[in-house]
C-alpha cells in the first residue's frame, strides 16, 4: 500500500484502500480529529467485471473439502471432484487458511483436521 506525498505537502492514497466497518469508523474519527471540516460522501464504486459464470453451485461435502488440502493441481482436483477449475480456485483461496486459523484457535496448532473439525468450522451439526 502506497502513501504518496508531494514537496508541496499534499498527501494521498496510492489507490483507495478497502476497510472494514471498524476501520472505517476509526479513520473517520482520526481525520475529524486532525481536520476541522471533514465531509463524508457516499460513493457508488465501479466494479470489476467478471465473465459470466454458471451459477448453479454444487454443495461442498466435508470429504471433498479435505481433498483441497492435498498437494494436487487445480486441474487434478477439478477432475477428481467433478468441479470446474474456477470453483476449486475460489474455494481453495479461503478454505485452507480459514481452516488453519480455526484449528489454531481450537487446538493451538493446525495439524490434521478431521471431518468433525470441518463440520464445526462450517457451523454444521455433527
Amino acid at each position: 500500500m502506497k502513501i504518496l506525498y508531494s514537496g508541496e505537502g499534499l498527501v494521498d492514497f496510492g489507490i483507495p484502500p478497502a476497510v472494514s466497518e471498524e476501520q472505517k469508523t476509526k479513520i473517520i474519527e482520526f481525520l475529524k480529529q486532525m481536520f476541522i471540516d471533514v465531509e463524508l460522501v457516499d460513493t457508488k464504486e465501479k466494479e470489476k467485471h467478471f465473465n459470466s459464470v454458471n451459477k448453479t453451485s454444487k454443495k461442498w461435502k466435508p470429504k471433498d473439502l479435505l481433498m483441497l488440502l492435498e498437494p494436487l493441481s487445480e486441474e487434478e482436483l477439478a477432475e477428481k471432484l467433478d468441479r470446474s477449475p474456477m470453483s476449486i480456485r475460489m474455494y481453495r483461496g479461503h478454505f485452507e487458511p480459514d481452516l488453519r486459523s480455526f484449528m489454531i484457535k481450537k487446538y493451538g496448532n493446525a495439524k490434521k483436521p478431521t471431518l468433525d473439525d470441518i463440520n464445526e468450522m462450517n457451523g454444521d451439526e455433527k
Binding site: 500500500m1 502506497k2 498527501v11 478497502a18 479513520i27 473517520i28 479461503h94
Partner: protein, 205 residues
Amino acid sequence: MKVFIGDNTHIDFKEPILMTLEQREKFVYFLKNEMFEQSIIFVEKTSDFRKERLGDKFFSEEWSPEEYILLTNLNKSTYDVAQSMGRTWLSINMKRGNEIYSFKLKLKSKNLDYDDFDNLSKDKKLEIIKEWMAEKGISEKTRTIMEEIKKQNNWQHNIKEMKDALGIVYQKLTPKPEEQNFKKAVRELKKTNEYKEFIKANYDY
C-alpha cells in the same frame, strides 16, 4: 475536505490532502499502527497524483513481496489478511486461490511446510517469496526497472512513443541491466491497467 465512502468497502479522498509534516507523520503512524500491517505500507514522494477517484474506475495495484508474506501466511484467515492489507476479502480469496498450489510446490522444493515457513525470519521469508515470484515470471530486476519507469511523469506516454526519457531510466540504472530485462519491464508495464487505460483515453479515437 471530502472523503469518499464507497459502497463496496473502499474509501478515498476527493483530492490529495494538504498536510503539515507533523500531520503527515501522524497520518502514516496511524495507518501503520491502528489500521494496517506496518510492513506493507510504503511512503513515497511523487509529483504526479492520480486524477481518477473512487467511483471513476476499478483500482488495482501490484502485489508487493511484503504483501505476499501475509498472503502466504495460511494461519491467518482471509478476513484477517484482507483487513491488514487494505484489500477486499474477494481479492485475497482469488489471489490465494491462484497462488496457494504454486506456493506449496515452492515450499516442498525447499523441504518446508507452512509451519516451518511461518517460523522463519522476515528476511528469510522475503528471500523465498522473491525467489518464488521471480520463478513465476517477472524477476526482481525487471520489477525494479518497472518501478523506475513508473516514477517518470507520463510514463505511459514515454512507453507508447518510446521517448528519450525512457532511455534516461535505462542509462541511470546501476548496475546497468541487460537490455532484455529493460525490454521485459516495458512489456510488463504495457500489460497493466494503468497503461491500457491511458492508451484508451489518449490514443483510441
